[in-house]
């Protein structure tokens, strides 16, 4: 009985500390967004373009069996408002019609070009270029995974900045412009992450949502709330604290020389985005070089989020396994003062409150269940604690969704906002726990050394013309 009580005290303390951190991050994130809205004015962006101070960008698009989304995605990349960029699509041994769709849509022909193979990759079969879009290059290579495809694209990239993006994503027309501005203002910046928003329910034309509705499925609604919380508050808050550990694989802008310097993307993980960021931190800290890695709230990338539970669970399992792989690979940095805030603040947080969170949550639910059954815990206190946890979570979600309301491109209807509020509430009545269980199982799978990517089901990017 005493042991159960002690476990409860531990869990309660864990909950309170976690929520205090979330609250603090929320405020810091919100304040950063407010200041950022004035820091990066339209005037500054226009000057950047008119005076040609921008840095050219290579957009890297790894694609494996993306025949449903690839053409729309590439079209959105080609429509970006940026004066000098190239798009490098890598078909990573696709077995569906990805390559054929691209050849047909963009009039691709073979291009016997030579390139600098600084990063080792699986063999490249051929390089194709577009007769219609000189800035488009398509690489057909043997399957080697997402990291391998990105490394092949880096080898072909001509420009100093690279932007790895997902083939199922749509970049906001100004996303590259806004992210690249950060590199102009600070030469020590190695990478800039953007904000990822679910595109489900929106219709696009030239990288701009022409109509936005909250999707009809609750799973997608929950994810809208989750993404808002993670990006507008969490990652923006971590930026202010100088401890960004993840730049989403859906969209980020990196200095090519820095990525090549640390050996490109590591092929041994399913969480290659976080791994690269951790390695950049490690190598630059070790070398004693000044650097910054930041997440900005307004270079926006739209991505299709899973609409069925099976795909969602598979995705979250993969993310969690990737998290564990990366934390374990870089465990030497944990609590090592040589790595500054990364080692002393960011990594301990990720170990305790990200990687171990599902374990604590599942153990907590089981413990409280047993305690209730044994009469160790007062049901009234348990109910109050649960109510407080749910309300606190809802409050933070509502603040995050509130940041979205400040955007010009937001969900325009009051009914949509009410649906998001309902999603913020219902999220805690099963969905949150289900994901915790899924991530708990992922943790067990990592311990047993299992796991791969798993197939993703896509509906495709809804465009205004289709």
């Amino acid at each position: 009985m005493r042991a159960l009580e002690l476990v409860q005290v531990g869990l309660l303390t864990y909950f309170v500390v976690l929520n205090l951190i979330y609250s603090g991050l929320s405020f810091i994130g919100l304040r950063t967004v407010v200041v950022h809205a004035r820091e990066l004015s339209d005037l500054a962006l226009r000057d950047l373009l008119e005076r040609e101070v921008y840095r050219p960008v290579s957009i890297l698009v790894p694609a494996f069996n993306e025949e449903r989304t690839i053409v729309a995605a590439v079209r959105s990349f080609l429509a970006l408002q940026y004066p000098r960029f190239e798009v490098i699509v890598v078909s990573d041994g696709s077995t569906d019609g990805t390559l054929e769709r691209l050849i047909e849509a963009f009039a691709l022909v073979e291009d016997p070009r030579v390139w600098s193979a600084r990063l080792p990759t699986r063999p490249v079969r051929r390089v194709l270029r577009s007769l219609r879009h000189p800035e488009l290059v398509v690489v057909d290579k043997e399957n080697g995974g997402k990291s391998d495809a990105l490394n092949a694209a880096i080898n072909l990239a001509r420009y100093p900045l690279i932007a790895p993006v997902d083939a199922d994503s749509v970049l906001d027309a100004q996303a590259i412009l806004r992210a690249s501005r950060v590199f102009v203002e600070d030469e020590t910046v190695l990478a800039v992450g953007g904000t990822v928003r679910p595109l489900n329910g929106a219709t696009f034309r030239s990288g701009r949502p022409v109509s936005m509705r909250v999707p009809s499925g609750w799973l997608e609604r929950f994810q809208i709330v989750e993404y808002a919380r993670a990006f507008f508050l969490g990652r923006t808050g971590w930026t202010r604290l100088g401890t960004v550990l993840i730049i989403s694989g859906a969209f980020g802008l990196f200095r090519r020389d820095a990525v090549v310097r640390v050996g490109g993307f590591w092929t041994g993980t399913v969480g290659e985005d976080m791994e690269l960021v951790l390695r950049l931190h490690r190598e630059y800290r070790r070398a004693g070089l000044p650097y910054r890695i930041v997440v900005a709230p307004d270079p926006i990338c739209w991505t299709e989020v899973p609409s069925d539970l099976r795909t969602l669970l598979r995705q979250r399992s993969r993310w969690h396994r990737g998290l564990w792989q990366n934390l374990w690979r870089h465990r030497g940095m944990l609590l090592d003062p040589r790595y500054g805030r990364i080692g002393m603040l960011g990594l301990p947080y990720f170990w305790l409150f990200e990687a171990l969170a599902p374990v604590v949550e599942v153990v907590g639910l089981v413990t409280f269940g047993i305690s209730l059954a044994l009469g160790v815990v007062d049901p009234g206190i348990f109910a109050l604690f649960l109510a407080m946890a749910v309300l606190h979570g809802m409050l933070l979600s509502q603040i995050a969704v509130g940041v979205e309301a400040m955007l010009l491109e937001r969900y325009p209807r009051i009914s949509d906002r009410l649906r998001l509020l309902a999603a913020a509430f219902l999220e805690f009545l099963g969905f949150h726990q289900l994901l915790a269980l899924d991530r708990f199982v992922a943790t067990l799978r990592v311990l047993r050394g299992r796991g791969g990517w798993g197939a993703m089901r896509r509906a495709g990017i809804p465009t205004a013309t289709s």
Binding site: L12, T13, S26, A37, L40, V53, L407, L408
Partner: protein
């Protein structure tokens, strides 16, 4: 991208809500850890936690629903009011309407600044006079000197549009502000303002003071580069002021040399040539870029370019290939042929591009290299450059 109204209020509201909510959370930890599970008072703390969270949720939700309801209407009203004021100011400029009585509201000032940004020539001067008459600049300068970062940044953006020379002292003081965000915004505003100063004497004087502030703030290369390009007509004065300083750090020299090349500032050709052997490789590369862009390579500077072609730093060799095109033709062809066999892919690529830019002789040399260069990688690169050149010619012909 963002609505710039209501967000400060939302941030303030969230700060209050989070602070109030933190009280029961901290208290809860204190009691639970101190008492290890003995529940005296726990119910009341939890009740407090529930009440504060619920209250916070209600307040935040109410704010957001109200915001969602009114913000679109407010944005439309603001745009309408701004449009009306723009039309009114245009009538004032045309002499069809008397100047309105002050003080001006936010929409009137916003419209005035918008016009000042869009209009050039005598009418722009007239708008500047109007800004002065209504004391707009003074108000903005006061806000720049304030403490709230969001308001300061907004005021600096407005001053960047106003381009009022009398605001330069305030802007220069802001360039050395401890906050880097303020420094960058102030530097941009100062550059735009300096661009509008017509009197040469005043311009030189302000450029020197500006250069001193920039050096004191130790702003990064990208910002200096942008400042120099934003300075437009005043760029030569600013370049001169930067290059004349003895304490100037290398990134400033680099940015100044890049501006020399990009803006085609021929009088500074000697300054670029003089830095071809600078100890900092970034400065050497910038000098080579400037020389190549200006197409100026005095005989005495050729040796420095020859040396740069063998520089141990890769990016210096890359830029040296472009400058090598300015060597006497036979020597240039021979030097670029040699660089086609450079161990670096990027230098090989730059050498091939430089040869392709040398007209018939260069293309012939590339063709020869594609067949007969002793280095396999050089042959591949030469062939690639020829293919690219052919594609470009075809694409241009099709476009015509």
């Amino acid at each position: 991208m963002w609505r710039r109204f209501g967000d400060l209020g939302f941030a303030a509201l969230v700060a209050v809500v989070i602070t109030v909510e933190a009280v029961p959370l901290v208290w809860l930890t204190w009691v639970v850890l101190g008492d290890l599970g003995h529940h005296e008072g726990l119910t009341w703390i939890l009740l407090g936690g529930v009440a504060t969270a619920a209250l916070g949720l209600v307040v935040v939700t109410a704010y957001l629903l109200a915001y969602q309801t009114v913000s679109d209407r407010r944005a439309a009203a603001l745009a309408r009011a701004r449009g009306e004021w723009v039309a009114r100011w245009l009538r004032v400029l045309a002499g069809r309407e008397p100047e309105p009585a002050g003080p001006l509201g936010r929409d009137a000032v916003g419209a005035l600044l918008e016009l000042r940004e869009a209009v050039r020539g005598a009418e722009a001067e007239r708008l500047l006079e109007l800004l002065r008459r209504y004391g707009v600049g003074d108000g903005l300068e006061g806000r720049v000197r304030g403490h709230r970062i969001a308001r300061r940044l907004q005021a600096l953006e407005d001053l960047a549009r106003a381009r009022a020379p009398e605001a330069m002292p305030t802007l220069l003081a802001a360039v050395i502000d401890p906050d880097r965000r303020v420094q960058v915004a102030a530097a941009r505003a100062a550059a735009r303002t300096l661009a509008d100063v017509e009197d040469p004497g005043t311009r030189e004087e302000l450029a020197e003071a500006f250069a001193a502030s920039l050096v004191a703030a130790a702003l990064p290369f990208g910002v200096i580069e942008e400042v120099l390009l934003l300075a437009d007509e005043a760029a030569p004065a600013l370049v001169r002021a930067i290059l004349a300083r003895e304490d100037v750090p290398a990134p400033f020299v680099r940015a100044a040399l890049d501006a020399v090349g990009r803006l085609g500032l021929l009088p500074f050709g000697d300054a670029a040539v003089a830095r071809l052997s600078h100890p900092d490789p970034e400065v050497r590369a910038a000098a080579l870029r400037a020389v190549a862009r200006l197409h100026v390579l005095p005989e005495g500077a050729r040796e420095a370019v020859r040396a740069a072609l063998d520089d141990e730093v890769e990016f210096v060799r890359i830029h040296a290939t472009a400058a090598a095109a300015l060597l006497p033709r036979e020597e240039a062809l021979a030097a670029l042929w040699a660089r086609l066999g450079d161990p670096s892919w990027w230098v090989r690529r730059a050498a091939a591009d430089a040869l392709a830019g040398l007209g018939r002789a260069g293309l012939a040399e590339l063709g020869h290299a594609a067949r007969a260069h002793p280095d396999r990688y050089a042959r591949d690169m030469a062939a690639q450059a020829l293919r690219d050149r052919t594609e470009r010619v075809v694409a241009e012909a099709v476009a015509r």
